[in-house]
Amino acid sequence: MNKNVMVIGGGPCGLEASAQLHKMGYNVILIEKEKQLGGHLAKWDRLFPEGIEAKEVLQPLVDNINGVKYFLDTEVVSINLLDKEYNVILSNGITVLSKAVLMTSGFDLFPAEKKEEYGYGIYDRVITNADLEKFFATGKDPRVVENPKRIGFVHCVGSRDEKAGNRYCSKVCCATAVKQACEMKALFPDAEIFCFYMDLRMFGRGYEDMYLKAQKDYGIRFIRGRVSEVSETLEKQVLVKAEDTLSGKPLKVTLDLLVLMAGMQNAKSGIRIGEMISMKRSDDGFFTTKGSILSLQECDKAGIFYAGACTGPKTLPDTLNEARAAAVSIHNYFNKEN
């Protein structure tokens, strides 16, 4: 029997899992739909809580997959079960017969334009967290004016929002917003910065310190209230309305830049593959794992495994841990069968 393992998705999760599986002696085939490896991480500038550069994390992950076969710009055309093995036909014409398939298809950012009231794509001064990361990396974005005086961050855009179809918390946006707010303050020391939040979920190690630092050292103003609507003023600034729930009053403020913290959704590309062999998805759109505590890496279909954000929003460290856990699960699966 062959020791092929198909890994779908070349983000940090797919990279780490491939490297681990390769080390264990499996024949890993990794596919990535984009023209480069790294997924969202490759498009990110810095990571919370310490502000490590994303490439410092990505580079070792990429270096580690030495010896792993991978195909870029490649998608799954079809996948079906043939006598205990999955027959996967790829868009580059290659067909792989693999006993185990690992889904590391990850997440898509919530399309912020769907929250029409925030005016993303309509107002000149509204951008998303991803746009801002690109701005940090390149220093260029026509929507970021020179020397903005007031900047707002809207937490939970497309998360914790029934109207957007996503009731769940995307977990990473709070920390990302605080990180980005500090970075903006460092870039524009004259700017006043506001974070509009519903709850600040600073659950990870070092996150609370980052929050305190944002308050104390960067003077970031945290407003407990969700932005309800955004308008454009004559000067092309954005007028933001929210309730300051702590004082129970409606509030308005004029900003030079509004950053929407778009949340996570199960990746469309992953869902497409999942539908080919009817992988179950929960109400939140993410894949359903076999168990919610003991068997987080397994699908109820034998031979299908999950790791990373395709089973729910996760931080990068969580994702990498899942990648390793999935490698072990797959290893056990092979051993049990033999």
Binding site: E192, F194, Y211, L212, Q215, K216, G219, R221, F222, R224, D244, L246, S247, K249, P250, L251, K252, V253, T254
Partner: protein
């Protein structure tokens, strides 16, 4: 002309009215003011709060919302007993903060 009704003043917070310079002056003397995470412990334990509207949490919020006068109203009943200092999870030196706010915003409109 009296129509029997009139324009009601806006109850909305207008952050565009926030007096940043004055707040910075305060934050320079009392960097602790930035550390408040609005947990409300100070207000809950407040000795004066039993009898009157007294809340450091609210006062800080009002200052940040550009409503300086209201902020003072939330501090004037304070007896400086110091209980809030004992309970603040962020270790804010509440008593001096209160005195400094009263000092800097004494002539607030």
């Amino acid at each position: 002309m009296d129509f029997g009704y009139s324009l009601s003043p806006s109850s909305r917070i207008d952050l565009d009215l926030f007096d940043r310079n004055r707040f910075n002056t305060l934050a320079e003397i009392e960097p602790d003011v930035l550390k408040c995470m609005a947990c409300g412990s100070c207000t809950a334990t407040c000795t004066a709060g039993k009898y009157a509207k007294n809340s450091l949490r609210s006062a800080i919020l009002y200052l940040q919302n550009g409503q300086d006068k209201q902020a003072l109203e939330y501090l004037k009943p304070c007896m400086l007993c110091g209980k809030c200092f004992m309970v603040c999870p962020r270790g804010i030196n509440t008593r001096h903060l209160i005195l400094s706010i009263l000092k800097i915003y004494n002539n607030a409109k």
